[in-house]
């Protein structure tokens, strides 16, 4: 992006919009990371933003989203929104270790709502998503079906919520008494397919696989089909987040479901409460996940053959 101070040629000269703050509804901004290798439409964020919009409308606010290729572009967007005095607040998600985005937003004086993790700071409210409890719930369900070799295809390990789930996975191996194995994916169906192929090629293949999102599970299901492995009789698959692709998969995928729209609504309501001075709550618990059993999870093959 050209710097307006040094580059006068790029923008047409137009009067600065001073009335913006008074003439418009408050705008809640969110920057989404798009482009390869992510799919063109991320169903999680599609539903999340839809929820944001549902909550914003009745409170007289509007929602602005921008898709950017990388974190540098994301930082530039926050800087621009600050310079233009455009947004009343920003939704921040997918935190990584040493994430400097929240600090940048604090410095710019932009209030934030953080999705997922707890983060202290001025004008900050967090939507606390308990990934640990959710992962434990998923693994308790699979072990209750008799599975003792359980694999997980994770999202990118740089993400803090991936680490929370990894931690819960490691703890559950001991607590629930199964052998666990993790492979990292990048949230695409292709990575889910490749990871599944690797796992199933092992001498001791897992009898159940849990995926960190919907697309990777769809890829995994396709791989199982291609290898002629009966789902769920020989292999159980559990997806994370109940999106349309899970329900339309054949057979439809069992999922660990969170109400994603509700998360979006909660984020916007919490941020608007913060802006209105109505709330000093820094931490809002997200609604818990539920397991929706469809057709890709069943008893472990070992427990049925020996039982």
């Amino acid at each position: 992006m050209p710097n307006p101070a040094t580059d006068n040629r790029s923008r047409t000269r137009r009067p600065r919009r001073n009335s913006r703050a008074s003439g418009f509804e408050p705008i809640i901004g969110m920057v989404l990371r798009g482009g390869p290798p992510k799919p063109p439409v991320d169903h999680f964020y599609e539903a999340f933003v839809a929820g944001m919009e549902v909550a914003a409308g009745p409170r007289g606010a509007a929602v602005l989203t921008q898709v950017v290729p990388n974190v540098d572009a994301e930082r530039l967007t926050y800087q621009r929104w600050h310079d233009q005095r455009l947004v009343a607040g920003v939704v921040l998600s997918d935190l990584v270790e040493d994430d400097d985005r929240a600090a940048l937003l604090h410095r710019l004086g932009i209030p934030i709502v953080v999705l997922g993790e707890y983060l202290e700071g001025p004008q900050t409210v967090c939507i606390d998503v308990d990934n640990i409890a959710a992962m434990e719930q998923a693994l308790r369900y699979l072990t209750s079906l008799g599975h003792r070799r359980i694999a997980r295809v994770s999202g990118p390990t740089a993400l803090l919520h991936t680490r929370d789930r990894s931690l819960a996975f490691a703890v559950s191996v001991t607590a629930l008494g199964f052998s666990g194995l993790e492979v990292e994916g990048d949230y695409t169906a292709e990575s889910g397919a490749a990871a599944t192929e690797t796992l199933l090629g092992r001498p001791d293949p897992p009898t159940a696989i849990v995926y960190d999102n919907d697309q990777m599970a769809v890829g995994g299901l396709a791989t199982a089909h291609r290898l002629g492995i009966d789902v769920p009789r020989r292999l159980s698959l559990l997806a994370w987040d109940d999106t349309a692709v899970c329900r339309l998969a054949r057979p439809p995928l069992s999922v660990l479901a969170r109400d994603i729209r509700e998360l979006g609504e909660l984020a916007v309501r919490s941020l608007l409460d913060l802006l209105d001075g109505q709330s000093t709550v820094a931490r809002q618990p997200a609604p818990p996940a539920v397991i929706v059993i469809r057709a890709t999870t069943g008893p472990s093959p070992r427990s049925t053959s020996t039982g």
């Binding site: 509804e25 919009e53 929602v63 898709v67 349309a244 339309l248």
Partner: protein
């Protein structure tokens, strides 16, 4: 009648598609790139000399760039061409009573940003044009896009409309807009070319442009917002009928008895009807796993019912399936008339429980489609459900600039001609 330049103010920038061959090549590069000049000549039927000349112009204008080299076929490796996605942008506005969505897509057709605000239902049209103009400026600024890279705005609304005069005709949910010259007023206010079209048609064009339905000989995008409509694409061309008001599948009356007697398909399918049926069921003492809004907002209620339905609530499931059943009847009728091979469901009302509708249509298609022994009909959810029509609006206005593929845009030729 505003003919000639009325709706098409002189644009400060030279048009992208001075000649259709230029538009054709640009679109081929967009859809099939990275692609070599030789492959372009093969795909377009143009001579290699013409291809080279036009490609040079496209590169000079910054729309296309050379990107490395492809496989050598014996001689020197071929230079591959690719679109420059950030070279141009288009705005799409989806006009609804309950909300107005603004989206921006780049030259590659990818969504780069969106803004959703409360609806136009309470505003008069003049006021709404002012609000839209301000928000388009806000969105373009907010996305950090240089204003002179914006080719125009595609405005989509539920029909009926008169595309020759650029007016919306008495839409049931936007009654004040009757006969308002929306296209010209918005063009005057923004200084940008405006393409006006029906939401369902736009959604279909958007899908075609994205390549999602490539290879389909006869496609229909069924659009469910507050009401029901359909956009039809036959052999790569939009089917527009006599006045671009085709595809009104919702107006079909199916002779069902009982509580649907005399109702149109739209009246049986639309969110407000599902919400009303739910309200009645609750009043009759039925138990349900959802709560209806106090104000009786049909969209909020429909969202609650849809959510409960996908989570397995019995009453909600029954209500949504009843709506899906009525939709299936109409879609299968349409498939039989047009011998469709592809159907997409798009629009905000499919956002939550769209999968139930897809399954219902698939099932009835497998059972009742006339040509089922000859070929199947692919039934899918559109990639952009909520913003499908707005994204389609960007495709329409890009098309006006790029003249892509095979799509004929009757509204534009009518206005320009």
């Amino acid at each position: 009648m505003t003919e000639g330049n009325g709706g098409w103010p002189a644009h400060p920038r030279a048009p992208l598609a001075a000649a259709t061959t230029r538009g054709l090549l640009l679109d081929l590069i967009r859809a099939a790139g990275p692609i070599s000049r030789v492959e372009l000549a093969g795909a377009s039927g143009l001579t290699q000399a013409s291809v080279s000349t036009i490609v040079r112009q496209l590169i000079n204008d910054g729309l296309v760039a050379e990107t490395g080299r492809g496989e050598s076929t014996g001689g020197k490796p071929r230079v591959l061409l690719e679109i420059v996605p950030t070279a141009r942008y288009a705005v799409g506005i989806q006009l609804g009573a309950d909300s107005v969505s603004y989206v921006v897509c780049n030259l590659a057709g990818r969504l780069v940003g969106r803004l959703r605000t409360s609806g136009a239902g309470t505003m008069g049209p003049e006021q709404a044009v002012a609000a839209m103009t301000e928000r388009v400026t806000l969105l373009i600024d907010g996305l950090g896009i240089e204003p002179d890279k914006v080719v125009g705005i595609g405005v989509v609304a539920p029909g009926p409309m008169d595309l020759r005069s650029g007016t919306i005709l008495a839409p049931p949910t936007l009654i004040q807009w009757n006969n308002f010259p929306l296209r010209d007023r918005l063009a005057d206010a923004t200084g940008l070319p405006i393409v006006l079209d029906n939401d369902a048609t736009a959604a279909a064009v958007g899908e075609f442009w994205s390549g999602a339905i490539a290879g389909s000989a006869a496609h229909c995008t069924v659009y469910l917002g507050a009401g029901l409509g359909a956009g039809i694409i036959i052999g790569g061309s939009v089917y527009r009928g006599a006045s671009s008001n085709a595809g009104e599948v919702g107006r079909i009356k199916v002779g069902l008895g009982g509580r649907f007697k005399g109702q149109t398909v739209e009246e049986q399918v639309m969110p407000a009807s599902v919400a009303a049926a739910a309200r009645k069921a609750l009043a009759d003492g039925r138990t349900a796993g959802f709560m209806l809004s106090e104000q009786g907002d049909p969209f909020e209620d429909f969202a609650a019912i849809s959510t409960a339905a996908i989570h397995g609530d019995a009453l909600a499931g029954k209500l949504v399936r009843s709506s899906a059943q009525a939709l299936s009847t109409a879609v299968v009728a349409m498939a039989n008339i047009l011998d469709l091979d592809s159907v997409s469901l798009a629009g905000p009302s499919f956002a939550i429980a769209g999968t139930i509708y897809v399954e219902a249509v698939q099932e009835m298609m497998e059972r009742e489609f006339f040509a089922r022994e000859v070929h199947g009909v692919t039934v899918r959810l559109s990639e952009h459900l909520l913003e499908a029509a707005a994204v389609g609006g960007t495709a329409l206005v890009m098309q006006h600039e790029l003249a892509p593929r095979n799509l004929s845009v009757a509204s534009i030729s009518a206005v320009r001609g």
